[in-house]
Every structure is written in C-alpha cells, then in structure tokens.
C-alpha cells in the first residue's frame, strides 16, 4: 500500500504539472457552469417541467471532467508511458506495471470528482442549485458513467500502438463526445436528426441517466443502463485482449 501511495503522490504531482488536464477537466466545465448560470440563471426549463435550466444542465456538466480524463488523460498517459518504455521497465522491478495503471485511474478519478464537486459548489452557492432526485442514485449513476467511460479510454490506449495515433483517436472521440452528447451544449436544442445520431454516443446515454436521476424523472433508464454497462464490459474485455505493455 505504501508503494501505491508513493507512486500516487509522485504521479499525481506530474499530472498537476500538466496544465491541459486541469484546464479541460476543471476550469472549462466550471467556466461553462458559470456562463450558463449567468445567461439563464434561475429561468425555468423551456418545457415548463418544474425545474430550472441550471438543474437540467447540472447532470450534463459534471461529465465534462469525466470526458477530459477518460478520452484525454488516461489514454494519452498510457500511450506515452508505453512509448517511453516506462511500463516495460516495471517488469524488471518487484512491482507489477498494473499498479501504475491503477495509480493513474485513481488520479483521474480524483480529478473528475474534484471537477464535479467544484461545479456543484459553484451551482449551489451562486445559482441556488438543488438536486431534486435521490442523492445516492445520482452518485451511483455518476460512478457508473465514470468507470464506463474509463474502460473506453483504456480501450483507446490498447488499440493505439503509438502516441501519435492515440492523439488523433483521442481528438476524434473527445470532441464529438463533448459537443454532441449534451455535456456542454444542451441535447434538447439539437435538431431531431442530430439527436438520433448523438444518441449512439455512450456519453449521451450517461448524461440521460444523470439528468434523470438528478431531476428525479420517471423515465425508463433501461437503454442508458444497457449502453453504459455494455460499454464497460466490452471496453474491459477488448482492453484485456488487445493491451500491449510495449
């Protein structure tokens, strides 16, 4: 355990030194929350559903941190460490390189959670946000979305052989997930054809789940749950199948 925490401390420091992960994972989503708050404030959601726009966006915005860590942080770090043979070097030590992967999973989880907590704090203090649905089911949904997206991030790291391809694939995955899933731009304002297309993104289903649990809606969660658990299982199975240490 001591080994794990020493690695966590040092690798954590390294992650904090990378400005991009902090910017995309924390500053950007908090900034968007403030922006939405200033623009629409306490306005009720357009369909007169009994909740404010802030309340309706909250579930979506807290996934931006997950998105940044899952589709940038995790795959790029793993690809980089593999390229530099840092993972390979762990094979000639008493510690398994798997520990290094776990260390980075924890670092990225902490980063997403900090991001989510900050968004919550800003929404609560400045815009009077209050969660409508059950807190526990909401936290559970959040964690499910997180592990599900992380397994897809791990899959990217497994399939991309070089840092270059990982970079390209991450951009191709990250930006559509960010803009089309409803994480930043509300899904409801998309035209119908785009909505149907975007529904195929796993994160869209994740946000549907989070919205539903945070607003306490009585919608069916079957499809989001199937998609998220399916992504998680497929991501893990394929990662185990294709992962290379060097």
């Amino acid at each position: 355990m001591k080994k794990f925490f020493t690695l966590l401390k040092i690798e954590g420091k390294l992650s904090l030194r990378c400005v991009d992960s902090i910017f995309f994972g924390i500053c950007m989503p908090v900034g968007i929350m403030i922006l939405i708050g200033l623009i629409v404030g306490q306005n009720p959601a357009p369909n007169d559903a009994g909740y404010t726009l802030i309340q309706s966006s909250f579930g979506a915005l807290i996934t931006v941190g997950i998105c940044a860590t899952a589709f940038m942080g995790i795959p790029l770090t793993i690809a980089d460490y593999r390229d530099k043979k840092i993972l390979k070097h762990f094979f000639v030590t008493p510690v398994s390189p798997t520990m290094l992967l776990w260390v980075h999973a924890v670092i990225n989880m902490l980063l997403s959670i900090v991001s989510a907590l900050l968004i919550y704090t800003v929404a609560r203090i400045f815009f009077g946000y209050e969660i409508i649905g059950g807190k526990l089911s909401f936290i559970g949904s959040y964690l499910l979305v997180m592990v599900s997206m992380y397994s897809l991030g791990l899959l990217i790291a497994s399939l991309c052989r070089t840092v270059k391809t990982a970079n390209v694939v991450c951009s191709i995955v990250y930006f559509p997930m960010l803009f089309l899933s409803g994480a930043t731009i509300p899904f409801e304002i998309f035209p119908q054809p785009l909505q149907s297309l975007a529904s195929f993104l796993p994160l869209t289903q994740g946000i549907a789940l989070l919205k539903s649990t945070s607003l306490g809606l009585e919608t069916s969660l079957l499809i989001p749950l199937i998609v998220l658990i399916g992504s998680l299982v497929i991501g893990i199975i394929l990662s185990i199948r294709f992962f290379r240490w060097e």
Binding site: T6, E11, L14, D80, Y81, I86, F91, V92, T93, P94
Partner: protein, 240 residues
C-alpha cells in the same frame, strides 16, 4: 563459486529471422561478464530473454536460481536493470524519479548517497528532461543500483558519456564489484570492457563465437589489445 546467471541453449526468433541461436552462458557470483557484438547481433534481445521480458522458443534461463518469468517479484528485489535508451515521464524531476524507483523495493539504497557518488546531487530538483545526454545515462545506471542489487544488468552502460563521466561510472562499478556484485553488461567500447570485464562472450547474428576471459582472448589472437582481438574474431567468423 555459485552460478548467478545460467543460460542454456537459448533460441529466439522473430518469424523466420533467428535472433538468438542456441546461446549458452554462465556467469559466476562476483564476476563481471560482457556480452559483445555488433549492432543487431542480438545482445539486447538476449538480455530481454534473460530478464523474462521476452518469451523464447526453447532453452532455459536461471538468474540467482530463479525463473525470471515466474519468480519475478522475488527475483527483482535482488536484481538491478538498466535498459538501453531509457526515458522518463515528461516533466519528472531527478529526485522524484529516484524516489519513485526506491518506493518499489523493500530495502532500497539511499538514493541521495548514490546521487553524490554519481555527482548528480545538485540536480535533485531539476527536470530529468533538462539533463545532458551523459547525465541522463548516468542517472539510468544510478537507478539500476537503487535496489542494492546482487546482480546488475547494464545494456550499453556508458553510451554518450564523456571521458570523465565514464571513469566515474567505472569507479562506482569497480567498488561494487569488490563488494561481490555480479555484473552483466553490453558495451561497444573495448577499453571499457578491458577495464571492467573478467570474461566476455562475443556474439554475431545470435550465435556465440567465443567465450573466454579477456587475457586469454587476447593471447589466442595475434594482437595485444582487446579491440583488435575482437575485430579478429569477427573477421574469422566472416571468413568461415
């Protein structure tokens, strides 16, 4: 003396290309053993096979009596490894990389002492990326010493080092050798091999051409220096 490293009839190929061809060698405790040969001769692959980093078709490998593949955790508490052209996490500092490696072992050496010995102590707070090529190379040897190893593997230990830095590394290694450290190294510098190695094995295209002590090898050749003797062995092989 007990055998520290025992390789028997090692064979490894990539597809149709044979990289290690029926290689056998034994390194005794306290011995400094050099694996020599031109670029692409199969030296690094041999080291990778010995360390369990690569699988091989047949043959057997024992280090300190253990199988590197199955006894990894136990074995690498006692074995230090420097791999060819190591690189590090972006923006990691010298002190941090030392601390991280030290954390992996049960009884690591005090890396601050090692940094002093290698004259790297004033770089503790510096990013590794800012070090010169030679300093980085010294750091990679230093990191291999952190486990306080009984056996040390060094792949091209002084490539890129200047004359003074080379001597510093030799000094540290010679001192460790006097304390009973077993050393397995590859090098392209025959002066270095002459200073450090007790015995050498020259390989080409994965095949051992000769295994002998340095003085014996020179004696058997028509020359007085290891470099010429080495070239002679290589040329004889080509003539065959």
């Amino acid at each position: 003396m007990e055998d520290c490293i025992k390789v028997k009839n090692l064979n490894k190929s990539y597809g149709n290309r044979v990289v290690v061809n029926n290689l056998s060698l034994t390194v005794k405790k306290g011995e400094v053993f050099g694996l020599l040969g031109p670029n692409g001769a199969g030296k690094s692959t041999t080291i990778d096979c010995i360390l369990g980093l690569k699988s091989f078709e047949n043959g057997s490998v024992r280090v300190l009596g253990m199988n590197p593949h199955t006894d990894r955790k136990r074995l690498f508490e006692r074995v230090g490894v420097q791999l060819q052209s190591s690189s590090y996490q972006g923006n990691i500092r010298v002190g941090e990389v030392c601390e991280e490696i030290a954390a992996l072992y049960q009884s690591p050496a005090d890396f601050r002492d090692l940094l002093v010995q290698f004259k790297l102590d004033h770089y503790v707070k510096q990013p590794v990326a800012k070090l010169s090529g030679g300093e980085k190379q010294k750091l990679s040897v230093l990191l291999a010493l952190i486990p306080q190893p009984e056996v040390l593997f060094l792949d091209e230990l002084t490539t890129g080092l200047d004359t003074v830095a080379r001597r510093e590394v030799w000094q540290v290694l010679t001192a460790l050798k006097e304390n009973g450290l077993t050393l397995f190294l590859t090098s392209h510098y025959m002066d270095e091999v002459e200073v450090l190695c007790d015995r050498v094995c020259i390989i080409n295209r994965g095949k051992a051409l000769v295994t002998d002590t340095v003085p014996e090898l020179i004696l058997k050749s028509p020359y007085k220096r290891l470099e010429e003797a080495y070239l002679w062995v290589m040329k004889e092989e080509i003539a065959i």
